[in-house]
Each structure stands twice: as C-alpha cells, then as structure tokens.
C-alpha cells in the first residue's frame, strides 16, 4: 500500500511541476527547427485514453517514434479541447519540428493552427479531421475515412435486410457530440440507409464513446421503444455497454437486436466472435509507422498528399473467430 501512496505522491508532484513549467522554456536542445540530420522532435497532442482503441493508438505512436528515432513529446488532453490547445501552444513555444494531433472536436482550431503556421511548424492531423476552410493550416491528414466506415455499416445492414419488406427500427449510439467520428459515421450510415424508407432511426443519443454511458442510454432506449431491431453504435465500447443493457432487458444481443459497431478493439472482437455483435467496421489505430514516415517527409520539406487513409477492413462473426488470436489490440 505504501508503494501506491508514494506513487500517488510522485504523480501529484509531477503534475504540479508540469503545471508550473508548461509554457516555460524546455531545456532539451531543439531550437533548430528541423535542420537536416538532427533528431526530429515531434509534439503529439492525444485526445485522451477514453477507449481501448485510443490506448492502442497511443502505444503505436510511442513505439514507432522510438523505432524511427524521433523524439516524441506526448500530451494527453483528457478529451478537452482547451487542454489540447494548451498543449499545442506549448509545443509551439518549445519550437518542436512537427506537431501532430487528433482533434477532440472538429471546430475551433483556426487560431492555434495559425500560430503554428506563423511559427513555421508543420502540423499533421491524425485520426480526426478539423472543419477549417483553410487547408493550408495543416500539411496532411492521416486517418480513417469515418464516412466510409458509416457507409460500410449501413451497407451491411441493407444487405442483411434486402429480402424483407418489414420496417426496420434502428437505434443509434452516437459518439462524443461534435467529434468527427460521431458526425461522419452518422452521416455515412444515413446516406446508405436513406435509400430505402423501411429503415428508420427511431432514437439517437450520444453515449460519449464509453461503456457506462452506452449502457445507460440503451437502457432508456429499451424502455421507451418497445420494438428495436438494430443497434448501430459508433464504437465497440458503447456497443459492449449496450449489450449488458439488452441482456438485462431479457433479450438476446445479436439475435433479438442486431448490433453493428465500429473500431474492432479486442473486447469488441471477442463479443463478435461470441455472437453478441453481428458486424464490426474496423478503424485501425496502428497508424504510428505511417505517421512517422509522414513526419520525416514533412520536416524534410517533401510534398505529401493532403489526405492519407489508413488500411481498414470489416469483420463478420466468422472472420472474427479466425483473426482474434492474432490481433494486436
């Protein structure tokens, strides 16, 4: 127990110390700004550790930075935009060579990105996009195509019910309100299912990408909507929470209510293999190697495409059983 207390004290001291010196000068020598053979310094502002997907993403970035010989300055924004802006500002002050970040929400980035541009620090977006009109504010965007993911989920649903004429009642668990994956997965899904009027989204609420809220929202859905055929959850964790709610209501997840989720984390794939989820659209978090490549190119002044899409696939229950033993996350 003493170890834990001392760990706590150390954590506390570190946090206070960090709060004290953020914005102050950092003594690691990185004032050069990407001059040739010097070690590249990357400032990375992560969203948080809100899901298994995110931690796999963090790990991949940290590991591949080490392999690529890039010094990584990492910050965790705990899902708050203001924390992320603070982190990016401190990277600008520390004069890192390249800034990479996954925006918590889509809007409100122009000012801080202007500052980065003025300081001549290239910015790479990872995983999530910003809605800024001025695309010169960032060099490239590496990440999944969330609209495409939503479309894949919708397409599976359309194929499943192509022989049926009955109306299909769908409930949707949205991600964090305003975030790119929530907005895009929702719109991609709607684009596909809106072709056929038998598909009806009867309820849609934010479950904030977490299991606890996914469960709570699903409980309410189950009570206010007696007939639910399909659940479309914007990530595995909310789907897993909803599965508990569905089981609690005496229904069988995957049979009475078909479940589609996105991400393909380990726990999600396990549930898919167990038959509790019907279909998962993959969203690959292992983007570290691609990011480091891009960073090197950007710092060297090479041109990179404005949009780089990560390799992704989808999984059915049978496929999940096959690949589950060899999954990395």
């Amino acid at each position: 127990m003493f170890k834990r207390i001392s760990a706590l004290l150390i954590t506390g001291a570190t946090v206070l110390a960090m709060a004290g010196c953020s914005g102050g000068s950092d003594d690691t020598a990185n004032s050069g700004g990407g001059s040739g053979d010097k070690k590249i310094v990357m400032g990375f502002a992560q969203v948080g550790a809100e899901s298994g997907w995110r931690t796999a993403n963090t790990k991949s970035i940290q590991e591949s930075a080490k392999e690529a010989g890039i010094t990584l300055k990492f910050s965790d924004a705990q899902q708050k935009q203001e924390n992320q802006i603070k982190a990016i500002r401190s990277y600008i002050q520390q004069k890192v060579d390249v800034i990479a970040f996954s925006p918590v929400v889509e809007s409100g980035w122009d000012t801080v990105l202007q500052e980065a541009k003025a300081a001549k620090i290239p910015v790479v977006l990872t995983d999530r996009a910003v809605d800024s009109k001025d695309t010169s504010l960032y060099r490239t965007f590496l990440g999944s195509d969330f609209v495409e993911e939503g479309k894949k989920a919708g397409q599976w649903l359309v194929d499943q019910y192509k022989d049926s004429k009955d109306p299909v009642n769908i409930v949707q668990l949205e991600g964090t309100t305003g975030s790119a994956p929530a907005n895009d997965r929702k719109s991609g899904f709607e684009q596909v299912i809106s072709a056929d009027p038998k598909f009806k989204v009867i309820a849609s609420q934010s479950g904030n990408f977490t299991r606890a809220e996914g469960k709570q929202v699903m409980e309410a859905f189950l009570k206010s909507n007696p007939k639910i055929d399909v659940l479309w959850a914007h990530n595995d964790d909310m789907g897993l929470g909803a599965i508990e709610a569905i089981e609690g209501a005496g229904k069988v997840p995957g049979k009475d209510i078909k479940i589609i989720t996105a991400d393909a984390t380990h726990d999600g794939m396990q549930a898919l293999a167990d038959g509790k989820i019907n279909f998962i659209v993959e969203c690959n978090p292992l983007m570290g190697p691609q990011l480091m490549d891009l960073a090197k190119k950007v710092v060297a002044g090479e041109t990179v495409p404005q949009r780089v899409v990560t390799d992704e696939t989808t999984f059915t229950q049978e496929q999940a059983k096959e690949v589950l033993p060899s999954r990395k996350y």
Partner: protein
C-alpha cells in the same frame, strides 16, 4: 392561504420535491410506459428502477459531499477516487484464477475501500492538519488521482468477468437493485450517526465557525478528518458500483465530473455551500433530480446537440426556485411589503 398550506409551501424540501414531480410529469406526457414497472428475470424492471440504479453512485458521492460541505469545505477529488477504487478492484479481480470466487472478490473490494479511506485521510490531513484550503487540497488528488487510476489500469480498460463482482452495481437482491440497498444502508448509518448522535451537531458547528468550535472544546481537526475520510469512502463504494455495472474499469472516464454533479445535488437539496447546516434528505432528492433529468433526456429524445443546454435550463430553473430571495421577488412582490423576510426562518431549520 391557509396556515397548513403555507407551512407546506415553506418546507425546505418543497421545491426539490416539486421539481422532481415536474420532471416525472414531463415523462408522463412524452414517454410511453415511463411509469411501467414489471418483474423480469426475478427483479424489478422499468425506467423508475433505472433512475435509482444509475443514480445510486451519485447519491453515495453526494452524501459524502454533503458532510464535507457542511464543514464549509469541498471535495473535488471524489471523481478520481471513484476511478481509482474501481480500477484497483477490477485489476485485482482480473488477476484472480477464478474471477467468481467470493473470497477473492471480497478481498479486492476490501483493498479498494481501504485505499479510498487512505486517500480520504490524505485529503483530511491536508485540510485539517496542514490547513490548506479545501478546494486546493482536494484539487491535488483530483488531478493526480486520474493519473494514479490510469497507472493502475495501464491506460487500458480492464474488463472483468465476475458474477459476484457484478452484483455490487449491476445485480439485484430481493428484486431490488443491489446498489440502492447499499445506498439505503449507508444513508441509514449516516443519518443515525449525524442526527441521533452529536456528530451532526459537531460537523455543523465546525462549518459555522471552526475556531469558535475549537475554543468551545470541539476537536475540529478530528471532525474534519472524519468527514473527508467518509466522503472518500462513499466515493470508493460508488467507484465499485460504477465499474461493476459495466464489468470494466475505465481509469479515464469513470466518475469524470461526478464531483460537479455531487455538488449540484447538495446545493439543490438545500445545503448551503457556506457550511454550518446540511440536509441529507435534500441531497438524496437532489441526486434523484439529476439522474431523473439524465434519464428524461434519453427517454424523450432530446437531440444530443442540445442536451447540455436543456440540462442547464432545468438546473437554472431549479436554482432560481430554490432561492428565497428570487421567490420573494417574483411570487410575493405585492403580498409581502412588511414582516420578516422569508430567509430568516430557513436559517434555524437544522432537522434531518
């Protein structure tokens, strides 16, 4: 107005109850089957049961918070304690050979609660021993505690598969949600200790004037230590409930912002942030109002983009209705030119 009706309208808990009833009426109009309760798989099932089930952790945290606020303190660290206790319990259970073994689960629960007590004692030490302002003292653990929770979970979500652990937050006993039984027991004990014994009086006295209480012979440091430790214990139990409900520990999100909800519940319940008096029953009502509001939003389908605005509106109305000064201005403008202001009477009411 008859004297009886006036007394009823003036009762401390009249407005919280009225607001709760109002929210429920909203559901009666907009949601089918909201009041429908049935027996499913041998336990009660329905929206109202959900409110109690999901509200139980908040009720516990708010209960501890009430006592802390009564000493004119505040505890911002409860959310972190929630995360730490859930994370520690799940970590130990995930390492068990047989996750369903009652002994192993009990041990994990015990260790998590002991750590919560220690964290509470740490808060108490900073506030009572060193004399740091409560908001700063507990801010330390609020920030550092999240880090500690992530340290325990290794940044991952720990999933457990234990039916005995599941009971705490997601299970049922005698058809009732187990969580609400825990809340009832803790509430009963707290009410006994504070209202049947002198502890409540001591807490209020310390909250009213710590220095005067000390001079009067009250060990105010011991009282402060007790309330902060108790508050952390409540948060620890709530953390077990939250993680047990979804069979997983999420160091980053479990109990996030619950301290704000708890403070809100306390305030809605009529406990003054200045300390010196408290109402446990008011706090319980406050927590129920907050949970009913959340469930209402999901049930009647308020669009996610406007959820926060809707909540803010309701909370604003609640707070305005709770304020005697506001009510005096709006409702009694013409009828109350003379006589004592309505605030005077409220100051002396300290019964449970």
């Amino acid at each position: 107005m008859t004297p009886n009706l006036t007394a009823f309208l003036r009762h401390r808990l009249f407005w919280p109850v009225a607001i709760l009833v109002g929210l429920l009426l909203l559901n009666l109009i907009f949601t089918d089957n909201f009041f429908h309760i049935e027996i499913k798989d041998g336990h009660l099932y329905g929206s109202l049961i959900d409110i109690f089930r999901f509200g139980a952790p908040l009720m516990l945290v708010a209960m501890g918070m009430t006592l802390v606020i009564a000493t004119s303190g505040i505890d911002l660290s409860v959310g972190s304690v929630v995360a730490i206790s859930g994370a520690l319990a799940c970590l130990q259970i995930s390492e068990l050979g047989d996750q369903n073994s009652t002994g192993g689960v009990l041990r994990a629960v015990g260790v998590a609660l002991v750590l919560s007590l220690i964290l509470g004692a740490w808060n108490g030490l900073l506030v009572a021993g060193i004399g740091i302002q409560p908001i700063i003292a507990t801010l330390i653990l609020m920030v550092a505690g999240r880090g500690l929770a992530q340290l325990i979970t290794g940044g991952q979500i720990i999933t457990v598969n234990s039916t005995s652990y599941k009971l705490i937050g997601g299970g049922y006993w005698l058809t009732l949600p187990f969580g609400i039984i825990i809340v009832a027991v803790v509430l009963l004990l707290t009410a006994l200790l504070t209202r049947r014994l002198a502890l409540g009086l001591l807490i209020e006295s310390v909250g009213g004037n710590a220095e005067a209480s000390r001079l009067a012979g009250i060990g105010s440091r011991a009282v402060l230590m007790t309330v902060y430790t108790f508050c952390a214990l409540c948060a620890g139990i709530a953390g077990l409930m939250i993680s047990s409900n979804v069979s997983s520990a999420d160091g980053n999100n479990a109990g996030l912002w619950i301290e704000l909800d708890a403070i809100l519940a306390v305030v809605i319940g009529g406990t003054s942030l200045a300390g010196g008096r408290f109402s446990l029953s008011g706090t319980m009502l406050g927590a129920l109002i907050i949970q009913t509001l959340t469930t209402t939003i999901y049930s009647i389908g308020v669009p996610p983009q406007t959820t926060l605005l809707f909540k803010a509106l309701v909370v604003t109305i609640v707070c305005l209705l709770q304020s005697p000064a506001f009510r005096a201005k709006v409702f009694h403008r013409r009828r109350r030119p003379t006589g004592a202001p309505p605030v005077a009477e409220e100051k002396v009411s300290v019964t449970a």
